[in-house]
Symmetry: C2
Subunit: 229 residues, 2 copies
């Protein structure tokens, strides 16, 4: 794509939030430079471009920084409008997409993330029950706001697909660490089909981390939460 | 305003989140019916229209429910587009507004809310320090993204004004309960001026709760966290 503007993403490969920005840029066919943030210590660039949260990703568009993955996704959609809409066109459908985005980030994923800490069998079962309640809601959401289609938003990968899809690597890590199956095909057939289709998209493949590599990263960073598995 | 469509808000007067939806509708000059949710027990209407969170506000537009105050604000802005824009027109300014919206709701207000629980003098001072750090960021944000103007987003009350402004009643309750001054005019002159101007807006006046009444509500609901004040 001919492009006079300068687009950069500051991030790291294991971060689902960074992946979101990259997938959106891939879908929009926007060229960008990927700057690797090592995090330890945090780079001067990160500290100055996201002083409030000091978190990745940061998107730079012609030198201006934009923080927070959901803000970045909407910025990308509203800036490069001529290719591949990310949010639905209709304002009600957009509201539904934003609702699920917030549910996934604020309610559901924090539950899954708790699996990176050691827990007893009882705690594991209780937590898994709550995680499954959420997956059930998402399975229903896929069927209803996806209007029976393959994706959450309609005919192509969109906002909710990117947001939930960016967590697939970490879902698989939790599966492996704990010997569970968060996305169980018997219980959640639509969601499992959706997950497979998402990972097959060209724009996703190059940034979706390999499960083994991500698991090594997780254990190196947080320790093995279930060493006796 | 001549209106063939049906707009309703399910809510309660002490809720800052409900106030947001109402202020936005006032700014857009959209007539609506206000349905009082008593919360205890939760109404059938609330349970069926927001089954995931069971929280107010719920906006109904021609029978369709929309949940979550930030989603509702954006829906209102994107649905009634001919009057009073709520989010800025430019995609970068919108990203900045969304960034601060998320900061206020996810980081800053949860700190302030902790003042509704009893705490020791030391805990109070530590918490107040963290609250002030946030207020300082918001004072700077008002000066920079408000471009030196009266409001966060530009020339008129907008997204961030509504989101932070809806908390002014609760900020005053915290001031009274604990004998503090969260919005101290000596430290944060721009923000104090902004708060006064916000409360003077016609669209805000009718829904901004009286501090005494809100404090009575808070004590009845949560108990007096600082009885020895």
């Amino acid at each position: 794509m001919a492009q006079t503007e300068e687009v950069k993403v500051l991030g790291a490969w294991p971060s689902p939030f960074v992946m979101r920005a990259r997938i959106a840029l891939h879908l929009k066919k926007v060229d960008y430079e990927f700057i690797v943030e090592t995090m330890n210590p945090k780079s001067e660039l990160l500290l100055t471009s996201n002083p409030v949260h000091q978190k990745i990703p940061v998107l730079f568009h012609n030198g201006k920084p934009i923080n927070e993955s959901l803000v970045i996704l909407q910025y990308i959609d509203e800036t490069w409008t001529s290719t591949h809409p990310i949010l639905p066109a209709n304002s009600y459908d957009r509201a539904i997409a934003r609702f699920w985005a917030s549910y996934i980030d604020d309610k559901w994923f924090p539950l899954l993330w708790q699996f990176l800490k050691p827990k007893s069998d009882e705690e594991k079962e209780a937590l898994l029950g709550r995680v499954f309640e959420g997956v059930k809601l998402l399975e229903e959401a896929l069927r209803t706001c996806g209007k029976g289609g393959k994706w959450f938003g309609g005919d192509a990968v969109g906002y909710v697909d990117i947001i939930l899809g960016s967590f697939l690597g970490w879902i698989r890590v939790v599966d492996k660490l704990w010997g569970v199956k968060v996305l169980d095909g018997d219980k959640f057939p639509s969601l499992v089909e959706w997950a497979d289709a998402f990972c097959e998209e060209e724009e996703v493949k190059s940034v979706m981390p390999e499960t083994e590599k991500l698991m090594e990263f997780a254990i190196a960073r947080f320790g093995d939460p279930a060493p006796s598995k």
